[in-house]
């Protein structure tokens, strides 16, 4: 561990801590409050997702993908299923594509809501967290109408979805969107423009664009550093080309480009974009049978595929190798939170302990996905 000098102190922001967003141990070398080095220790939540998926059949892997990123499991399913359909060249009916986009975007709003709410908690504001969770509950109810589960859905299957939308899902969803849009203004007045919140997050934990790309940071964290990269626009999958929405990037609103406030603000703007997509998707959704393209026996041809999709935390990549048998030969999940956490050490040098918590919160990591 190296000789610990006089006032150097090793502080364990340990596996059990109110704001590590999961089971993560940060071994922080500090002198006084200023942080000189952070060594994250992972693996507390390692459940051998990749080993499991070598012993279960292709469709049985889906419940495991749910449990990796349990805050956005719809998008995790979506990524796995899109990769599998590319491997097996299955063309999915139009209605299923629309349902998947609707579910993916709703799940993105839900995940961002929780990320922003918990970020307010890390900075010390209790009330926005409650408001955001109250609205997230309404999204979880919609998921429950459709597939029965609130958090871990196993809803998207290879070649389709398990259940069609309930009859009045469109009205329920549009009611939610109409109710939810003015709420964003309230969150902004309460938290986003709050001077103390701005003081605590502006110019804190700046990730320059090249460091972000070199650390493989993706998603809102990368866009906050000014790099305009979104898999939905740059490597379009499913029917995302049909919708017009734009990609919000960081603008250094209250401080330098790529600081904690930008990461927070990009997520808030992304919620507005997701609402735009949802409104278009709900208007144009065709009818049709969702079980039509479900293959009876899933036995993909020999070969491998690497497919990326845009999860709320960034590029969620699935590298699937199949050897012709109904059991996957190798499934590797490239987790966006894993790369986001890797840059924590370099970014939070020289900041104070309370800033480390702020930076960690702004990266919006989920330990289920990091440890797999």
């Amino acid at each position: 561990m190296g000789v610990v000098q006089g006032d150097q102190m090793i502080l364990n922001i340990g596996p059990q801590h109110p704001s590590t967003h999961g089971v993560l141990r940060l071994e922080v070398m500090t002198d006084g409050e200023i942080v000189s080095q952070i060594r994250p220790h992972l693996g507390y939540l390692h459940r051998c997702f990749e080993k499991h998926s070598e012993n279960v059949t292709y469709e049985q892997v889906i419940p495991f993908t749910d449990r990796c990123d349990y805050l956005a499991s719809m998008n995790s399913n979506f990524g796995y299923v899109v990769a599998m359909e590319e491997l097996m060249e299955i063309k999915v009916p139009e209605r299923v594509e629309y349902i998947r986009v609707i579910m993916g975007e709703l799940n993105r709003i839900g995940s961002h809501l929780l990320a922003l709410g918990v970020y307010g908690l890390d900075i010390g504001a209790f009330t926005p967290f409650l408001y955001m969770l109250r609205d997230r509950e309404r999204i979880l109810d919609m998921f429950e109408y459709t597939c029965g589960a609130r958090l871990l859905y196993n809803y998207m299957w290879i070649g389709g979805v398990s259940h069609d939308l309930p009859k009045d899902f469109e009205t329920i969803c549009t009611d939610f969107l109409d109710y939810f849009e003015p709420q964003i203004k309230e969150y902004n007045n309460l938290l986003s423009f709050n001077k103390i919140f701005v003081e605590r997050t502006a110019d804190v934990g700046v990730i320059p664009a090249d460091v972000a790309v070199s650390y493989g940071v993706t998603g809102p964290n990368l866009r906050a550093s000014g790099v305009k990269w979104d898999v939905r626009k740059d490597e379009p999958y499913s029917i995302y080309e049909k919708f017009d929405f734009d990609i919000p990037t960081g603008t250094g609103k209250f401080g330098t480009l790529g600081d904690c406030y930008d990461r927070y603000w990009v997520r808030m703007l992304e919620i507005k974009e997701s609402i735009k997509i949802l409104r278009q998707a709900l208007k144009e959704i065709p009818s049709g049978d969702v079980h039509q393209a479900l293959p009876k026996k899933i036995r993909p041809p020999k070969g491998s595929v690497y497919r990326r999709t845009e999860s709320p935390r960034g590029d969620l990549g699935y590298y699937i190798v199949s050897d012709g048998t109904p059991v996957p030969f190798r499934v590797k999940m490239r987790s966006p939170a894993f790369t986001a956490l890797s840059c924590l050490d370099e970014v939070s040098r020289g900041w104070m302990i309370s800033d480390v918590i702020a930076i960690l919160g702004s990266l919006d990591i989920v330990l289920g996905e990091i440890d797999r």
Binding site: M9, L11, H17, P18, S19, E33, G120, L121, D122, I123, G124, A125, F126, T127, L130, Y131, R134, L190, L191, N194, I196, F197, E199, R200, M352, I353, S354, D355, I357
Partner: protein
């Protein structure tokens, strides 16, 4: 006032001055402790309900079978009290046991002494010092010794962080608090709290009560600087950095549980009481009634004092559930670079105002 009357009464019985003094002090101390306990009970319940209502939830409600929390969760505080009394308060093995056990009592003494000078009404005041305001400010800083002792004794890094932060915070916020309480003293010309309140009787421009807050613009600003530094002194949001839940888990209180933690809790709410009592007495006309002419006889004084006190404590809770938390260096920035210059300017302003308008 009660201590003096008791002493005079005992002396008439028989001339043993030391014993009568001790008796008087002990007898008038007991209601003080009751006020503290009652205040903590009510404040905990009100805090739960206020925070709940602000977050679109309803807080503790008495639902469910068997033992539950009373009609609107009224028994919740009783449940808390029993829990804290019954719960085992552990003393960590590696901690400095003597200091660990002493810390709660020192913090309690800090709050308890301060309460002695709070003027609940024209007659209801335990001791009427002729240097009341100075006494409360001085006694307010005893608590820091207890906090640092608690932080150091529990021998864990988080508590040490919490203690260091709270020491820096309370000491540095003593200055703006002291400076902004000078303004009522300058205007009333006395340190004695009862005379300070008496000075604020009558009305100005007919309808407005003659409180110091309405007296001139500088004292109006001085009330807010005093209130902000008072919030910082009792470690409440947005200055609750010592026991920042999301960083230091519970700061210097982490290792405490059971009754010792209850004492900390008691003295936190008592500190809030003392500090807002001083704010009310200094700026909002103590037990004077807001309508100048009417309702200022006998028990009305107590009612007005308690309602103003209640409002200020509610505002402190309102702060807690709305604002995020400052960082330690920002806290220092606000104190040294914002509050102190403003209070200096206020003192200068009030001086000029008194010279011109007498």
């Amino acid at each position: 006032m009660t201590v003096d009357t008791l002493i005079n009464w005992f002396v008439t019985l028989g001339d043993f001055p030391v014993l009568s003094f001790l008796l008087a002090v002990v007898i008038s101390g007991i209601p003080l402790f009751l006020v503290m306990a009652l205040n903590a009970m009510i404040a905990v319940y009100v805090e739960r309900k206020v925070s709940a209502f602000m977050m679109d939830r309803v807080g503790p409600m008495g639902q469910g079978p068997g033992l539950h929390a009373g009609k609107w969760g009224v028994l919740q505080t009783a449940a808390d009290a029993i829990k804290l009394l019954v719960k085992e308060d552990t003393v960590p093995e590696t901690s400095d046991k003597f200091l660990f056990k002493m810390a709660p009592y020192i913090i309690f003494i800090g709050a308890f002494l301060g309460l002695a000078a709070v003027p609940f009404s024209s007659t209801l005041q335990v001791v009427d010092f002729n240097v009341g305001v100075f006494y409360i400010i001085a006694v307010g800083s005893i608590g820091i010794v207890g906090i640092v002792m608690a932080g150091w004794a529990s021998n864990n890094k988080w508590s040490l962080y919490g203690a260091m932060r709270s020491a820096a915070q309370i000491i540095s916020y003593e200055i703006p608090a002291g400076l902004s309480i000078i303004i009522p003293i300058m205007m009333a010309g006395t340190l004695n709290i009862q005379e300070l309140i008496a000075f604020q009787s009558g009305s100005v421009w007919g309808i407005l009560p003659n409180w110091i807050i309405f007296n001139n613009p500088f004292s109006f600003v001085a009330f807010f600087t005093f209130f902000i530094s008072a919030v910082a002194e009792t470690n409440r949001t947005p200055f609750d950095i010592p026991e920042a839940e999301s960083e230091l888990v519970a700061g210097w209180m982490t290792e405490y549980s059971g009754f010792r933690w209850a004492v900390f809790f008691l003295s936190e709410y008592a500190n809030m009481l003392v500090v807002s009592g001083l704010a009310v007495a200094g700026f909002l006309g103590g037990w004077q009634s807001p309508i100048p002419g009417l309702f200022n006889t006998g028990l009305w004084g107590l009612f007005w004092f308690m309602s103003k006190l209640g409002f200020l404590i509610f505002v402190m809770m309102w702060f807690r559930w709305t604002f995020p938390r400052l960082r330690v260096d920002q806290l220092m920035h606000v104190c040294w670079k914002v509050l102190i210059p403003i209070t200096m300017f206020n003192i200068f302003g009030v001086g000029i105002w008194k010279l011109i308008f007498g």
